[in-house]
């Protein structure tokens, strides 16, 4: 078995997994605190990509990147304030519908602004250069992604575990009402959750679109869906779970795409099976299997409802 054949697939799997992870954290944090699946999150990711395209067309990178991040954060904050905050006391289903509404609003706005045409993402100096690792040629961003993802996740976990604000966030996620009674400013905690989620989505979008340089209004849908699957896979509400889930999904997906080729190069088979076709189907089968075997996901909290 020639393992060097497998390396490029693992590399791109790790890279795309890191990008899914950054989006998945946004899903999982919002779920942890609000018990809301923020369907608009994938579209925030797409809008971040579009903003980068428009900003970089008129100003240099060292302005456009921070500006893109700031505006994405503002967008996430604005969505929470406009579409979710007024619904805080409403049934959970209403908030969910509102999230779907925001998702369609963003997609259609993007369709209107871009005219539905593919927009080319700008090449970012240094990180979009090609490099060679163990015989596999890839972009530098492939290597940067997992490192940056892990650094950001560690920073986030430190924030949650060792700061007063992190404690407030954990308290809110544990029990909404009691936290409020203890004097925690719920609105502030929720806003910060959305700000962190959008910030990570902005970074994720920067890395993702540097690798896959085309932004269309539906660009956020697939990565958003995969990241959501990753969050559920790892146990929704758990940050390490989301990250591990995202890496597993990214790597498995790419291995499936390359399975035919790996088998053929190693002489195990001379016939094509067409596994590549099933790469997406695999992701969702994995989700179903996990949900059947372990309904709370890999790292999901075992919660017993107290009466």
């Amino acid at each position: 078995m020639d393992w060097s054949v497998v390396l490029p697939y693992i590399l791109s799997g790790i890279s795309v997994g890191g990008q899914y992870a950054l989006i998945a954290i946004g899903y999982t944090m919002v779920y942890g605190i609000l018990r809301l699946i923020n369907f608009a999150h994938g579209d925030v990711f797409m809008v971040a990509g579009l903003m980068m395209i428009y900003f970089s067309a008129s100003m240099p990178m060292y302005y456009s990147i921070p500006l893109m991040i700031i505006f994405t954060v503002l967008l996430g904050y604005a969505i929470e304030r406009a579409a979710y905050k007024p619904l805080r006391t409403a049934p959970r289903m209403s908030i969910m519908i509102s999230a779907i509404g925001v998702s369609y609003l963003l997609e259609n706005l993007a369709l209107y602004v871009t005219g539905g045409l593919n927009q080319n993402y700008p090449g970012i100096p240094w990180i979009s250069d090609s490099i060679t690792i163990g015989g596999a040629v890839t972009k530098r961003v492939t290597i940067i992604t997992p490192i940056l993802t892990i650094v950001l996740v560690v920073a986030l976990i430190l924030l949650l575990k060792h700061t007063k604000f992190g404690m407030a966030m954990r308290a809110v996620s544990r029990d909404f009402d009691t936290a409020q009674l203890m004097g925690i400013d719920i609105d502030r905690v929720i806003s910060v959750t959305f700000i962190i989620g959008s910030f990570l989505a902005a970074i994720g979008s920067l890395l993702y679109f540097t690798n896959y340089t085309g932004v269309v209004p539906t660009s956020g849908a697939m990565p958003g869906l995969k990241a959501f699957v990753a969050a559920v896979f790892g146990g929704i509400g758990s940050i390490p779970g989301a990250v591990v889930g995202a890496f597993i999904i990214g790597i498995c997906e790419n291995l499936i795409k390359g399975l035919d080729s790996v088998l053929m190069v190693n002489g195990i088979t001379s016939q094509q099976f067409g596994f590549a076709t099933f790469s997406d189907a695999f992701t969702f089968v994995l989700l179903i299997v996990i949900l059947i075997l372990k309904p709370t996901g890999l790292f999901g909290e075992k919660q017993t409802d107290k009466v």
């Binding site: 519908i97 925001v102 259609n108 539905g116």
Partner: protein, 435 residues
């Protein structure tokens, strides 16, 4: 308080829905813009030529004037069934540009001794086979005499039955899959077919690159790319080569693993006639992975989306297409002036005035439709359908006449072009004829 909150809530939700409705239509207006002005101008010419129309039209606004002109019977409607969004939005818009330019050049047609104004009615099929039928139905219910389109074979195949049931003939502009016209008498087409195109491409790969192994990549469930890959595979294997054929699912933007597969297969050429949106990603990822073998594709890749993606990269891209810029000087200059003179047109053409082959085909399709209307001597779709079988026309893309079995254009030439990665334009390589 609670009451109030609910009120705001429902108001807010209603506003969101209304906003998405507006934005949804916004696209339609953006494309329809030129058509609206065309319709208005044709209405005003109608007013001058027809006394009854003047009296009624004078009081109304543009929309009312259009409808009066339509009922007074001297407007003939041509349906434009094209994608303005989705995977093939860029190509569809360029194809429409050709029609709009032709319409601005020749806004009237003499049918049965009477001068009619031609109104283009647009319907966006969103490059999607499940939106295709409703777009086609819109055209049917707006009373068009003949339909032009679409870019993309899948949507054309999906809408064929709708047009057939309504008895409306359709002229396929650049849909190259044989199934579009097979087994029906109402779908015609003015371009070459995929079996021809696939063979030409396979011959070219073997003759010029001495290719022995080809890697084919198509989009799962897409009639055009899967079909063309099949024809390419057939021709390539007949020439003694081997083919590795893979498909990727809808919404995929990570092609790195597919490109690694191509490298592992030791492919001498990568053949991937997919939509331009996916193509731009494939080109980008292939070049960053250091692919040195040529990329080949069919007519969809003949677009400035591709040249833009390839500019400044070390990659060879070859495509077959219908028309080579410079083929007809008057047309080239006229279309360039038209594109440069209209900001919307310029945006729809991708921001520059490079001429896409599909624009030339759209232009020819418009004139073929006018010829058919003239031959029919009536705006009745049935009469136009019958007349189309005998219609011939010498267009900018060559002589057009239909064979008598499927209504396909008799074509024997395709142009091979190569993307120039320095200037961002297409270089002419060869004119290929069927062997």
């Amino acid at each position: 308080m609670k009451r109030n909150l609910k009120k705001y809530l429902s108001l807010g939700l209603a506003a969101v829905m209304a906003a998405s409705l507006i934005t949804g239509c916004g696209v339609a207006t953006a494309n329809g813009d030129t058509s609206a002005t065309a319709a208005t101008s044709s209405a005003s010419t109608a007013a001058s030529s027809d006394a009854t129309a003047t009296s009624t039209a004078a009081s109304g606004d543009a929309a009312a004037a259009t409808s009066t002109a339509a009922t007074s019977g001297d407007t003939v409607k041509i349906g434009v069934y094209e994608p303005a969004s989705g995977d093939n939005g860029a190509g569809g818009k360029q194809e429409m540009l050709g029609m709009q330019y032709a319409n601005s050049k020749t806004p009237t047609v003499d049918i049965g001794g009477k001068t009619y104004n031609v109104e283009l009615v647009f319907a966006d099929n969103q490059s999607s086979t499940d939106k295709a039928v409703s777009a086609a139905s819109t055209l049917v219910s707006s009373g068009v005499s003949v339909v032009l389109g679409s870019y993309g074979s899948g949507v054309s195949i999906a809408a064929q039955e709708t047009f057939a049931n309504a008895g409306i003939p359709a002229i396929g502009v650049t849909c190259t899959n044989p199934q579009v016209t097979e087994g029906n008498t109402n779908y015609f087409r003015i371009c070459f077919l995929d079996p021809f195109q696939g063979t030409i491409l396979a011959n070219f790969a073997v003759d010029n690159f001495k290719a022995k192994t080809a890697y084919c990549l198509a989009k799962l469930g897409d009639d055009y790319s899967v079909g063309l890959c099949n024809y390419f595979q057939k021709a390539f294997e007949a020439l003694g080569g081997t083919v590795v054929f893979e498909t990727f699912p809808e919404g995929n933007s990570d092609f790195t693993s597919y490109i690694t597969n191509a490298k592992n297969a030791n492919a001498d050429v990568i053949f991937s006639p997919v939509s331009t949106e996916a193509a731009a990603l494939i080109i980008e990822q292939a070049s960053s992975q250091g692919v040195t073998v040529p990329l080949m594709a069919g007519d969809t890749w003949d677009s400035n989306v591709i040249t833009e993606a390839a500019t400044g990269k070390n990659i060879d891209i070859y495509v077959t297409t219908f028309y080579q810029e410079g083929g007809n000087k008057d047309f080239d200059e006229g279309l360039k002036a038209y594109i440069d003179g209209d900001a919307t047109a310029l945006q729809n053409n991708g921001g520059n005035d490079m001429i896409a082959a599909v624009s030339a085909m759209g232009y020819d399709a418009y004139y073929v439709a006018l010829e058919a209307l003239k031959n029919a001597g009536s705006t009745d779709p049935k009469a136009v359908n019958d007349a189309l079988w005998k219609t011939t026309y010498d267009g900018v893309s060559g002589h057009i006449e239909f064979d008598q079995t499927n209504g396909d254009a008799v074509r024997d030439t395709a142009y091979v072009k190569k993307a120039n990665t320095e200037t961002g334009t297409w270089d002419f390589v060869a004119e290929q004829k069927a062997k």
